[in-house]
Amino acid sequence: MNLVSCSVVSNHELNPGNFLITLKVPRGFARPQPGQFVHLRVGDGFEPLLRRPYSLEGFMEKGSLRAVRIYYSVVGRGSAVLARQQKGTKLDLIGPLGIGFAPRPRRLPILVAGGRGVAPLLFLSRRLRERKRPYVFLYGARSKAELYGVREVRGGRVHLATDDGSIGYKGSVMDLLAREWSESGQTPLTAEIFTCGPHGLLHAISDFARDRGIRCEASLEGPMACAVGACRGCPVPLLPGVDSGRYPAMCLEGPVMDATVVDWARLP
């Protein structure tokens, strides 16, 4: 982990409200793991005052050139400022931070993405491909227009779901997962789930996994101040009985956590 300055290589709106930004980082920035995030200063001045945490959608390295990619939605002040940053602008970020996805050897990784939650899973899928590991990629969005990066997914079986049925399975990616699981013949000993998306979806998926004893890692989100474990501002509520009421710090023990111990009902 390091504080490094970075410069905007490109920053485009890919579909309404969703942007992809590429940031050039110096060699001082360590190679990140899929699921790790950076704490980005989106602009100078006090609006916004705090950095914003973003999962990495990808990491590129060519010779001495290093760059990270972030896929983000404009939901408020910080992301609005970020969306205005032009090519060449200098920003700075702290990272890589947190704990990423940890696929186990000899298990089929089932990646389940909801909406813009696809970002860290695209990063993971590329890593799996490099490792020549097969995987399943389930991706749900409201409509075909909001699907991003599908064509990028290679070396794995992709199944899509859209609320409006404009492509793939018509319905939620949760239902798609249920169908695929039952048809796949996989067992908790042969496969595991990696997911990211709206907390409502993650909640449903973790219930599904718990009921069947499937190992399931989810990437969480929530407001953060320091992002390095100092301020304790990012508590993750755990289910009663788990770890005696302690609140793990999302920035330090997450953002990727064992979904089945998270008390989703108490997570905003």
Binding site: I94, G222, M224, A230, Y247, R266, L267, P268
Partner: protein
Amino acid sequence: MKPSLEVRIGGLTLRNPVLVASGIIGYGREYERLTDLSRIGGIVTKTVTLRPRAGNPPPRVCETPSGMLNSIGIENPGLSGYLEQKVPILRDLPCAAIVSVEGEDVGEFCELVRGVDGSGAAHAIEVNISCPNVGPHGMRYSTDAGMAREVMSAIRPLTKLPLIAKLTPNVTRIAEIAQACEDCGADAVSLVNTFVGMAVDARTRKPILGTVLGGLSGPAIKPLALAKLWETVQAVDIPVIGMGGIARPMDAVEFLLTGATAVEVGTALFANPSLPEECVDAIEESVRLAAGTTVDDLIGALEVPEGRGVIRAGRAARREPGRHAS
């Protein structure tokens, strides 16, 4: 010739007047890769309570215009956890380690001071009598001069370490609390802790923080923190450590000019981990510009028109009152 930036807080001499505030930097290690602690005066640890605390339910932080609200709930490992896990870390720090403590009653404050004093790792103790209410005690220690007196006089005999009383700004007359602490042997007072605040999500119709109320910090409160500092330095003779909204290097100079002997950097560290070092540079530069030789040439050097802006509290009461009505 390089001006001297050394300042003294009771028996403790700080390399320079820039500290990092409690609750911001943990116990130092969390930021060792981000902030050069060897260039600043010291850090104040996250507040330690007698028993471990899990802290408050989420969400605990929320950004507001030029500020942030927090309701961490003093999540900390408790005194025993401090002694086992944190003392070794503090021993290795390249700057002064000021340990913040808070008890739920006088007895707990005493146990904590004894424990921290015994641990050896602390250069000073910041007594957090200012935290917005934890449990049934509400804000009583911080908002009542009598209670402050009770705590300070009980712990003073228990340690030779400098005692810094940290005050809340959520009171009518902060100078009265500061004077009570001075009378009871505090070596310094530090202020401000956060201002009680609240945020609402009009769409969900719910409070944003899990605890509804939280503490406001950041640049938004700087003008309020400077006013509380100004009120306090007029009322006490012990050093006053100023903080509240320091976000640019020159902000630190503003606090020194207003009368602070040292400053603590808080919330803004999250955005700019190098800010403490930049504050040190700005202070040194300001001493130079004023053709001064030491930082004492800055402290309290604010030029104020006769009889203006004087706040009538205790010892300052003799002077003329200030006018600043809307």
